[in-house]
Each structure stands twice: as C-alpha cells, then as structure tokens.
Symmetry: C2
Subunit: 176 residues, 2 copies
DNA sequence: CAGTCCATGTAAGAAGTTACATGATTCT
DNA sequence: AGAATCATGTAACTTCTTACATGGACTG
C-alpha cells in the first residue's frame, strides 16, 4: 500500500522522502501514515523497479534527494488504482483509493464506486441480520457493550454507503 | 492486541484455538480477525507466560486442546483493559476495548469513555479546521475526491463521538 | 470414497515500527 | 550556544498473513 501512496503523491509533483512524510502528516494522517523507516526503503525499492527516479540537489543549502515518477511508474500506479477497491473491515484503506481517484477517468471512478457500494451493502446486510438475531434472542440491556459494538458496525457500514452515494451524485452531477 | 483478544474471549469460557477463530468470525470479524497462523503461536506464548493453561481432551471423538485463563491472566487482561483507549486513526481497534468493557467496573468504563471522547473531539477539531481552510482557499469542486475524503474524516470522527455519547447515556441510565 | 469440516501446527515472508546514527541548518 | 528542525538512512524487532503439512471424522 505504501508504495502506491508514494507513487500517488509523486503523480502531483516530484519530492523528497522528507516531503512525502510532511504530506502524509498534513493530508492523509487521518487515514494513512508511515514512518521514515518505511518511506526511505520504499523509495529505494521503487527506484530499483524503475517506477521512480532520483536526482540529488542542493535546495536552499540543504541536501535533498528528489524523486519523480517515471512513465512506467505512472502506468503501474493507474493499473493498481483502476482495480476494484478491496474493503478492509479493520482498516480505513478504502480512503487511500478515493483520495487518488482524481487520476482515474470519471466513468471508471463511477463504476468502481458502485462496485464498492455493493460490497459494503452486502456486509451491511449480513451484520444487520446478525444484529436482528441478537435482538430477538437476548435481552440486549444485559449485553450493552456487545450489542453496542454491533450497532457501531451497522451504522459504520451505513455511513460509508451514504458517503459513497453523496460522492457518486457529486461526480455524476459535474460537467464533463 | 491479539493476545488480549484471546484473553478476553477466555474470560467468558475455556475454548480451543479453533473455537477462538470461530468466535472471531461470528462475533468480531467486522472490526477484528486473525488467522490460525497467528492464533496458535499466540496461545503458546500466553501459556508460556502463565496467563492461560491447556488441557488435551477428546471431545466427541475429536482431539482438542482446551485453553482456560489463569488468575494471572485475568489480572493481566484487566490491567490492560482499564488503561485509556488509544485511538488508532487507521484501524478500528477502539472497538476491541469496548467489546470487552463488560468486564470493567461501570465507573471505570464511564471514565475511559469520557477520556476517549475528549481525544476524538480534539482530532475532530483539528481536521474540521483544516477542512475550513480548504473551503476558504480552494474551489472544492475542482478537488472533489481530496475534499470528499476530508468530509469523510470529519463525519467519521463525529460518528464515533455520537456513538460514544449514546453508549455513555445507556450505561449511566442503567440501574446499578 | 471423495469432499468438506474439524483440528493443530510450522516456515517463510510481508509490511510495517522503533530506536539509533549522522550531520547540516535555522531559530532564539 | 543550545534547541529545534531539516534530511537521510540502517538494524533489530513486531506482528501479522499465506501457504503448506498432517490427519481424523462426518456426509452425501
């Protein structure tokens, strides 16, 4: 995942490992963050694979290693981005995809959003059913915390679906 | 985290590694899950530390290794559970804590919930401010996806706070 | 009698973190 | 002059997953 985040940031402009960390802190830290100990080795790997290239510069009397994305890197990134979003139940990884959907053709973004909604709806229906079963079988007041986490789950899935639908309306409403 | 989940499940009743996996699938998979490859080694570690003990039984002609929690394991688990909940921005780990809050004294549960709410409120305020800055500085229609992920973030934090407040009301309203 | 489920376990590898090491520059 | 920030990097470690290996019991 980290390697794709890096490529995604480099789609915008070339920058150093340190700059990447700053962007993460400022822009994505509420759903994704990484340490220097993983950023620098990731940059080395990406360069070795030919997805990025570096140039050592001295900017305002500070040594910097500026990385830029290659044609191969761009196509590698877009191939990944256009694949269906895998919903992780335990992490907020889906936001990583949406954050970079600016680089996807509108039609593809709409298609993937719809596929994603269907996947989350399926999970919502499963959990909703389990929640109903619990409501029927037990006195939920005796299991406040267990039941509340189920309520959390159901409402969380619904929240994601609503947000996706809002986003869908917005993109579909935009002038081509 | 996995070791505490296992201890939490064993607080209810003794069970095998296989049973633990079934409980995760049925009950916690929407916020936590683990593979056999991590469950079995975790059980070995926990037994080595003296937090659980095992007995090999043949139940309905099937070999099983049943684990039960020790006094030391219980106190180790409760010591962890009563500590302040660390909010992970990228994972749903806070639900793990709440799921087992049935084992915490009511007053402690209320205190930790309130502390947690304050932490999430602080994150909400930060992100809200950043969102306002973006709204002032840019035409958000040109950055639909970047802006939408921010809206997601703000609403997600608000969702958690609302859920916590509902839970708080419920526990406080319950007869002692 | 083949397939699925029950049941336990290991080995290799993925993907990160924390802590450390280094050194220049800028701020107070 | 000392602290904070800028900037890159490595080593050891943590914590998981995937894939494999094994074998008995049940099911159609």
């Amino acid at each position: 995942m980290l390697e794709y985040i890096i490529l995604g940031f480099l789609m915008r402009e070339e920058m150093s490992g340190y700059d990447l960390k700053q962007w993460m802190i400022n822009c994505t830290s509420y759903f994704f963050d990484a340490s220097f100990g993983s950023i620098y080795p990731a940059l080395k790997r990406l360069e070795k694979k030919g997805y990025i290239k570096s140039s050592e510069v001295v900017e305002s009397s500070k040594f910097k290693k500026i990385y830029s994305i290659t044609h191969m890197g761009k196509s590698h990134f877009l191939t990944w981005l256009e694949k269906p979003i895998i919903f992780s139940k335990t992490k907020q990884e889906h936001l990583v995809y949406f954050y970079f959907y600016q680089y996807l053709p509108k039609e593809r973004a709409i298609l993937n959003l719809k596929t994603f909604i269907i996947e989350v709806e399926s999970l919502l229906n499963q959990l909703s059913k389990e929640k109903s079963d619990v409501e029927e079988s037990y006195n939920v007041n005796q299991y406040t915390f267990l039941y509340s986490t189920m309520v959390y789950g159901v409402n969380y899935y619904q929240f994601i679906i609503n947000w996706c639908n809002d986003l869908l309306k917005q993109i579909e409403g935009e002038k081509v």
